[in-house]
Amino acid sequence: MKPFVYERAAEPAAAVATMARPGRVYLAGGTNLVDLMKLGVSAPEVVVDVGDLPYRDVETLPNGAVRAGALVSNSDLAAHPAVRERYPAVSLALLSGASGQLRNRATLGGNLLQRTRCRYFQDVTKACNKREPGAGCAAIEGEHRDLAILGASRQCVATNPSDLAVALSIMDAQVEFLGPHGPDRISVHDLYRRPGDRPDRDTNLPRGALVTGVVLPPLPMAAGSTYRKVRDRASFAFAAGSVAAALDVRDGTVRDVRIAWGGVAHLPWRAWAAERAMRGAPATVDTFERGADEELLAARPLPDNGWKVPLLRNLTVAVLRSMTEASW
């Protein structure tokens, strides 16, 4: 690891202002950053520890929304009564990720900004456009079993590793941040991006922005939401594929539905086309299958990850079906 200067931010705006200088990174829980520093993927000159900043609260707003500060640990957020009751998919997604030890240390903000676990990104001896723009992508011709089937590019087939982000996607969560021009917010849908020809950029946040919190808007159907994750072992592994879903069925008809997929794209993949196909249709397996198929028309699997297409289809149908049965 390269030697670095350590600073503790005492005031948010001052911390953001210093980020205009190059070679600086924010440190929160460090569960991803410290690892990347050990691997040589990240080699900051100055580490700015934001751990003292006042973003540790979870609050319920008068309109029923929940706002969580960026420094709330994954454990605390997952266990919070309002989150468990109103947004169970968020709690389940957090609890599906990492291990007890990591969840105690990892923060909400860090979870959203964690880097891909593509093995070529994490190995500095391999070509990776995300780590080193223009270097090429070793994954496309290499081991890409775990990588993206949706929205990827010829430059990058990495996946976003966050379970939480998938659940936030169906909630239309807003991500609050402090940018160079003051406090601002961005929809989770606009926060993340497809890799395109700039896979080095994970998000659309302005340079130096500090994520300060997340707002979960009021969403009655979210009280029945869920998150299901498929992986190579029963626990403590990244997703082979995952589904966050919320379903509102009235008189046997899909009144509203929200679906997002994880582990299959550079961003949490909101299945808008599937939702459109299902809304207003009978809440049947046939409808769920047709909806999933509609969305999966966009899939462009690589030679060794085509199995994710039927996995997502089956997983989506199984989750919606179980939600339908639960509501009867």
């Binding site: 690891m1 030697p3 670095f4 200067v5 350590y6 440190l27 460090g30 569960t31 410290v34 690892d35 520093m37 050990k38 000159e45 580490v47 520890d49 751990g51 454990s75 997952a78 266990a79 468990r84 709690s91 389940l92 609890l95 599906s96 990492a98 291990s99 007890g100 030890q101 990591l102 105690n104 240390r105 029963a234 626990s235 403590f236």
Partner: protein, 167 residues
């Protein structure tokens, strides 16, 4: 350019002041600076759990924490689990159930289980909580999944943790 820092830690109830390289992890400081080799370095990437300690009462991977970032924190390592003589009840359960083979992962397993007991007491859910047909054993396996045992002593580890939970 200053790349070292002065840090105060409260380790197993003792105040420790030291100057540390900013790159040093809590794990390295415990083992190399403070003479506490009970905490083990396994993968050094947060994947195996051998480095598990309690930080301000919560289980964490000490290999992924910069020592400089936990100034003033309270750390409990396997050496500090029992304030008096003898073993911590979780250690006793591990001994009774022969919950190890080589023993390298054991300090991390034990610290993790101690943290788990506290999390259960606080009513924290796991991803399995409330999903219906979940045995106590399944819950323990899920909640202990951050600790790998290369000898594969899991059957006895689960039994030991179950006993500690039941006590």
């Amino acid at each position: 350019m200053r790349t070292t820092s002065d840090v105060t830690l409260h380790v197993n109830g003792r105040r420790q002041e030291l100057r540390t390289d900013n790159r040093a992890t809590l794990l390295d400081v415990l083992r190399e600076e403070l003479g506490l080799p009970g905490t083990k370095k396994g993968c050094d990437h947060g994947q195996c759990g051998a480095c598990t300690v309690l930080l301000d009462g919560r289980r964490v991977n000490s290999c992924l924490i910069l020592a400089v970032s936990v100034d003033a924190a309270a750390v409990t390592t396997v050496e500090g689990l029992n304030a008096g003589d003898g073993l911590h009840p979780v250690q006793e359960a591990f001994a009774e159930h022969d919950a190890l083979q080589c023993g390298y992962c054991t300090p991390g397993q034990v610290c993790s289980a101690v943290g788990l007991l506290d999390e259960l007491e606080q009513g924290w859910p796991s991803v399995l909580t409330g999903t219906g047909d979940v045995s106590a054993e399944d819950e323990i396996r899920e909640r202990m999944s951050g600790n790998i045992c290369r000898c594969g002593a899991y059957v006895n580890i689960v039994a030991a943790v179950a006993e500690a939970v039941g006590r």
